[in-house]
Structures are given as C-alpha cells and as structure tokens.
Symmetry: C2
Subunit: 125 residues, 2 copies
DNA sequence: TGTTCAGTTGAATAAGCTGTGAAATGAGAG
DNA sequence: CTCTCATTTCACAGCTTATTCAACTGAACA
C-alpha cells in the first residue's frame, strides 16, 4: 500500500486540451452507448480480464491449437484449459472444429485479435 | 442454459483461411507476449469488464465530470461511484484534478478511449 | 461391441469482487 | 479555528469466479 494516489495530474484546466480529439475511436463514444452494448462489451472485457485466459487467447492468436497442445504448453491441466475455453467460447471469442480425435480452437475473428493486440500494446508503454 | 454450444463452426479446414491476415493488429501477437504485459493487459481488461465501470468510462470518454455529477447521472451513491473510480484510477485508466471543492475525473489517455471504443464496437455487430 | 483416447461437464471448495453505510479527510468559506 | 461540502476510506455482507477431481461423452478403430 503505497501507490495508487501518487501524482495528481493537474492537466492544465485552461489549455482547453483539444477535447474534440480527432484521433478517431470516438464513433462508439460520442453518444451515450446503449445499455445492451455496454453489457456485452463488459462481458467481452471480463472474459479477457484474466491473465490465464488472456495468455490463452494470445496463444491462439498466433495459431490454432487443440486442447492437449494448449495444456502441455501452459503446464495446466486439461480440465483447466477446457474450462477456460468454455468461458471464452460462451462469449463467442473462440471457435472450434474437430479433426479426428482432436478439437482445435482458434480466435473467433480478426476483430477479437485486434482487441487483444490493443490491450497488450497499451500494457507495455 | 441452452446456448453456449450451438453452432460448431466448421471453418473449412482446407481453405487455408489466409492465416497471415494482413489487417495489422499482429504486432503484439506475433510472438509470445511477455508475461508482465499479459498481466497488465489482463488487469486493464478486468477493470473494464464490469458494466457499471464500463458505463462510467464511456461517460467519461464523452467529457470530464466530478463525482457528484456522475453519481447523479447514474443514480448510484457517491460512495459507489467513488469506489469504481478508485479501481479505475488504480489501473491508471482515469486521471483526476481538483477544482475548488470538486474533483474532476477524465480518461487517462486517448489510447484508453480507443480500447473502450473498440470494445463497444465489437459488442454490437 | 468394446476399448481407448481427447475433451467436457459437474460439484465443491477457495479466492476475489462489489455495493454500501458510517466514519474520516481535506479544501474553502466565515 | 470551526463549519461545511465533496469525496474518500473502512469494513463487511453477499455474490461471482477459478481451479480441481472425478465421472461422463463421443469419435475412432480393432
């Protein structure tokens, strides 16, 4: 307990700070977002909000893989991985296909990949 | 309990699916992300993973506001809003400044705004 | 049909969160 | 210095979530 209230960031209240920042990424923020969208978006964020799950997603972003591969790579149990994937699948963030005895998972779409990428980028700065 | 294992999405295993999707957003995903980055990114996602908090962030994305305004607008108690902001601030997603008796909050940076925007966009599709 | 291999699901326990009222801060006004 | 207003912190009850073991499903194949 020592951080969290460090620098107060005075952000010069009179500089007008170009509030209408034209960087884009305003589209969804300009007007009050629909409650349903917020719910859904929060659900997506929550699903990505666990280190183990996010790691899994980052791994899948690199290439599809089956449960046993993922379990072996991460060192976690099959059941554990399966449960994580279950949750991610429930949020429709991953898709799966069966190939013989194995079931391969991959990210649901490229948009998801971007979201993860953005998060990871923002993380180390 | 009825959804979650609906369509199996066969994703045509032989179409090769242009795996090297050139949409960008690969940067952070190409190689195994650093554990620290994953932790941090997950923490950010987790912070945004609560409807009430995300709503708050979406609100702040529109314009800065002080606690009482936010409380009045959302209908929640002061204490509740304050706690939400505390968590968001602990993750450095919002900044605050004091002006007389009030304390104004706003998003920490434009990158955060983008993240939220992306999430909301992905939400309704 | 029966066996095996790959994954899934259920249940239980443990750990972590969130909202909330009451008490505490802290800057300005008198 | 004291009072007050805006906001924060504390502490806790109540709810959600993650992991794990064991039991189960369901292809493949002999």
């Amino acid at each position: 307990m020592h951080d969290e209230r460090s620098k107060e960031e005075t952000w010069v209240a009179d500089e007008e700070e170009r509030v209408n920042c034209d960087h884009r990424a305003r589209s969804a923020l300009e007007s009050s977002a629909a409650p349903a969208s917020v719910e859904r978006a929060a659900a997506i964020f929550r699903a990505l909000g666990d280190p183990a799950r996010l790691m899994l997603m980052a791994r899948l972003a690199r290439a599809e893989a089956c449960v046993s591969e993922l379990a072996a790579e991460s060192g976690d149990g099959l059941s554990t991985i399966s449960q994580r994937l279950r949750l991610l699948r429930a949020e429709r963030l991953v898709l799966r296909r069966r190939d013989g005895k194995h079931i391969y998972y991959r990210l649901a779409d490229q948009h998801v990949a971007e979201l993860i990428s953005n998060g990871l980028e923002h993380a180390d700065e």
